[in-house]
Symmetry: C2
Subunit: 222 residues, 2 copies
C-alpha cells in the first residue's frame, strides 16, 4: 500500500495522502496509472517584453552600517563593561521604542552623551548594535569564536534578553527561529526552560513537540 505519492505537477511537487478521498481514483488494484503531458514550444519568443532589468536588493543596511563603522556624526557613547561603543541617537530612536523614549519624549534626555549599560556582555551589545543598523541576524559563530552548539545557544539566549530589553521584536523572532533550528536531544531541556523564562511561546511549543516525539524519546539525535 502506498503511503504518500509524490509527483511533479506543472513544475511543482504535489503530494497525495493515501487516505485522501481522491487517492482511490489514482490507485487501482495497487497499480498507479500516470498520464504524462509533454509540451512542445513551436516558436521561441525572446522579445524585449520578456527581459527584466535586474535590481539589487535593499542596501539601506549597508549604508547605515558604513555610517556606524566610520563613526561619522556619532552623538552617543555606550559604556558596556570595559568597552565603549559610539552610535547615532537618531538611528537608535528610529529602530527601538526604548531608545526613542530615552532620547526624546517627556522623560527622555535629548542631550545625553554617555550611557552606561549594565548586565549585558559587550559582544552581545555590539551584536545588537550591528543588528539595529543592518537589520541582519548577527554572525553568532563570530561572537562565540567556536562551533560549540552550547555556546551558540547561550549567545542567542543572551541576545534574546537584550532584544527584549530594547523592544527589538524582529531580532527576538530571529533569535527564536535560530534557537528552533538548534534544538537537539542534549539541549532541549535547557532551551525549554529558557523559552519559558523569556516567554518565547513558539520555541516552547517546538521544544515540547520535540521532547514528545517518539523518535527523540529513544535518545536518537534529531
Amino acid at each position: 500500500m502506498l503511503s504518500l505519492i509524490s509527483c511533479c505537477c506543472s513544475g511543482w511537487r504535489r503530494f497525495l495522502m493515501r487516505d485522501h478521498p481522491d487517492a482511490s481514483d489514482y490507485v487501482k488494484d495497487d497499480c498507479l496509472i500516470l498520464r504524462c503531458t509533454i509540451e512542445v514550444v513551436k516558436t521561441r519568443r525572446e522579445g524585449p517584453g520578456r527581459c527584466r532589468i535586474a535590481v539589487p536588493p535593499s542596501d539601506t543596511g549597508r549604508g547605515l552600517k558604513a555610517l556606524l563603522d566610520s563613526g561619522m556624526g556619532t552623538d552617543i557613547d555606550f559604556v558596556v563593561g570595559d568597552e565603549s561603543f559610539k552610535a547615532h541617537k537618531l538611528i537608535l530612536a528610529a529602530r527601538s521604542p526604548v531608545f526613542r523614549a530615552q532620547f526624546s519624549g517627556p522623560f527622555g534626555d535629548r542631550n545625553i552623551k554617555k550611557l552606561v549599560v549594565e548586565d549585558v556582555d559587550p559582544s552581545i551589545f555590539k551584536a545588537m548594535l550591528d543588528f539595529i543598523y543592518t537589520d541582519e541576524f548577527p554572525d553568532i559563530g563570530e561572537i562565540v569564536g567556536s562551533t560549540s552548539p552550547f555556546a551558540s545557544t547561550n549567545v542567542v539566549l543572551h541576545l534574546v534578553a537584550t532584544a527584549d530589553r530594547y523592544c527589538l521584536d524582529r531580532l527576538r523572532l530571529l533569535c527564536e527561529s535560530k534557537l528552533g533550528e538548534q534544538i537537539t536531544v542534549d539541549m532541549v531541556a535547557t532551551t525549554l526552560a529558557l523559552a519559558d523564562q523569556h516567554q518565547l511561546h513558539q520555541l516552547k511549543a517546538m521544544c515540547l513537540k520535540f521532547a514528545t516525539d517518539p523518535a527523540n524519546l529513544g535518545g536518537e539525535p534529531w
Copy 2:
C-alpha cells in the same frame, strides 16, 4: 521536428534545444521516449524540526519613514519650488554620496540648515526623499494623480534625473526597470530618446529590441 522540449525535472522545468548535442539521445525517428520516476515516501515525519518560526521582513524602512513623518530631530530644510521638506542629514548622508559630500568631508558644510533645490519638481523631490528613507519604489500613480501611461513615464524619467543628481543607483535601476515594463508602441520612441539621454543602457537595448520585433513593427500593442 521538435523545436524545444519542455519537461518537469525534479520539480523544475528543463528545456532542451533541438540543436543541442544531447537532443539526439532523446529523440529517435522523431519519437521521444520518456522515463518517469515516482517517489513513494514510506514514513511521514512531522516532527518539530520541520516547523519554522516565521520572521517578518526587514522593517528598517518603516522605522526611518516614521522618523521622517514625525519630523523628530530633523536638521535640514530643503526648499523646492514653493514647498519645503525637513529631513535628517545623517540619513541622507548614509544613503547618498552626494549628500554625504554636502554635509561632511573637506568641501561639505555640517552646519548647513537650509538648502534651495532648483530644477526639481517638489513632488519628485518628495518621492526621492521617501525612497531614501523607505528604500521602496515610490507610488507613481499617487504622484501623477492619473493612470495615464505618458504622465507615468514622464514622472519616472524625472525621478531618474533626480536619482542621477544624488547618485542613488538603486533608485535609478528601479526607474529603469519600471520604464522597461511600460514600453508600448506609442511610447517606445520617446523612451528610447530619454534612455539615450540619461545613459540607461539596459532600457535603450530593450527599446531597440522592442522596436525591431516584427510583432511590434505591424503596429500591434506589445
